[in-house]
């Protein structure tokens, strides 16, 4: 899922300083699962903002809403009837959702309440970890299902570098397991170490962000 983390309250309050009537928009998609931008977080954030602004003597009126998804046009429509009664939308969806709100409502100020962080998994309750950098050209079949782009701090294709610690961690941070150490262990257990023996060639990053904003056009699905 796409992971996000709410911005610090004081940063959000700073962005909201010019306004006294806003829509706070959550999303039922990924950010609900990672507990950063769903209905519950909308409720909690709204209360915190109201309290803080009351303490300042400048009450903030907040309309709370959580959309099915902010990255699909039809789910953005429910906001249209009341949007012009408010001065700004504070969205706590991912960066795609926030932008799509801004794109659909061109005369509305849209503010980010969330920092979008990565594509990751729930390793255990309360712990989410990056797994994919959406490079657009998957090599997981060669690397035992462990991604060298996302899991190696240097995105090496022929690792590991000399910076693996004695307990198999990355020298960058002891919380990061060495991606290449994991790849090698996994290849060994799958009896696929010969995959490692071959040098992987220079990657084309054209399919990654380096090729500019990406698009997928499926004519079979277009009306």
């Amino acid at each position: 899922m796409i992971m996000g983390e709410q911005k610090p309250l004081e940063v959000i309050l700073g962005m909201l300083a010019p306004y006294d009537k806003i829509v706070l928009a959550g999303c039922h998609g990924c950010v609900t699962v990672c507990r950063a931008g769903g209905a519950k977080e909308v409720e909690i954030l709204a209360s915190s903002l109201r309290l803080a602004r009351e303490a300042e003597g400048r009450p903030l009126e907040i309309k709370e809403v959580t959309l099915e998804r902010q990255c699909d046009p039809e789910y953005l429509e429910p906001m249209r009837p009341y949007l012009e009664d408010y001065q700004a939308v504070l969205s706590i969806a991912c960066g795609a959702g926030i932008q799509f709100v801004a794109e659909k409502y061109t005369s509305t100020v849209v503010l980010p309440g969330l920092d979008t962080t990565f594509i990751g998994v729930t390793e255990k309750q309360g712990l989410w970890v990056e797994r994919c950098q959406a490079c657009g050209d998957c090599v997981l079949h060669l690397t035992g299902g462990i991604c060298p782009v996302a899991r190696c701090s240097k995105s090496l294709f022929n690792g590991p570098c000399g910076g693996t610690t004695t307990d198999g961690r990355c020298e960058v941070d002891k919380e990061i397991p060495c991606g290449w150490m994991m790849i090698i262990e996994r290849l060994r257990s799958l009896n696929q170490l010969e995959n490692y023996r071959k040098n992987l060639p220079m990657k084309s990053w054209k399919t990654s962000r380096d090729g500019g904003p990406r698009r997928i056009a499926r004519e079979d699905l277009m009306e």
């Binding site: 240097k154 570098c161 000399g162």
Partner: protein, 312 residues
Amino acid sequence: MKTASRLERVFDEGHFAVTTECGPPRGSDPEVIRKKGELLRGSVDAINVTDNQTSVVRMASIASCAILKEMGLEPIVQMVTRDRNRISLQSDILGAAGLGLNAILCLSGDHQTFGDDPDAKNVFDIDSIQLIELVKMMRDEGKFPSGKEIQGPPNLFIGAACNPFAEPFEIRPIRLAKKVDAGVQFIQTQCIYNLDRFEKFMDEVRKLGLHEQVKILAGVTPLKSAGMAKFMKKNVAGMDIPDDVIQRMADTPKEEQAAKGIEICVESIERLRKVEGVAGAHIMAIEWEKMVPVIAEKAGLLPRPDISVPSD
């Protein structure tokens, strides 16, 4: 094809090679690098110049190498993929050769979070093994990766690093084999303090026949003090300093520890020299370049062979 590298010639003539490294200044004064070069003259066959090591900004390796070259010394340009994409790498490879440099060390580079600019965006468009392949392709095929022809291919002797002490140990000889496949011609290893383990590593290297395909220079770094030894063991990943080495330093009075460090370094070189497949020593005296001639002398590595490299 042979390069004009003095180091390559030293190997070809069957000598035990000696290289060292010097760190460029954190400023633009060329005298700093000239002084270091002068200290090293006659004691080594070639001098590496580091490329923003530990991600701390210093004078460019290529520029520093050009200064050493002007002095009639033989530099090895270190090049990391951390800061350059393949466009910049190709351009710098041509530039290095254009300045008359004869050897390159292909590295991925220390992660930028260790340096003064942890907020920098890293590049890592390619890795060190792919950089070896890139230099080899440009030199031997006279082509860029794009397939376009190079007017005047860069004739560089190709090196890389190897850390026999980083986990996973059993994979390190295989990773060296990958570098050999890529076309590396010489290897400079991480500093060796655990000689037993290095000898085991070399057993594996010989089993794979790699010592016959690549010249391996054993890396050594003299310890200045017991404190430095402890610090390196604790803080540098992939640095294996056995307790008995640290004990020897710690048992020595403080004012004599530097001399003890030199003594241990010289002993290491003498033992490493006997390991089959070790073709040279790479003496990394970090900000202590003046000790390199002393170590070379005590280890019986002087005088260096008089190699007359033909001018092109």
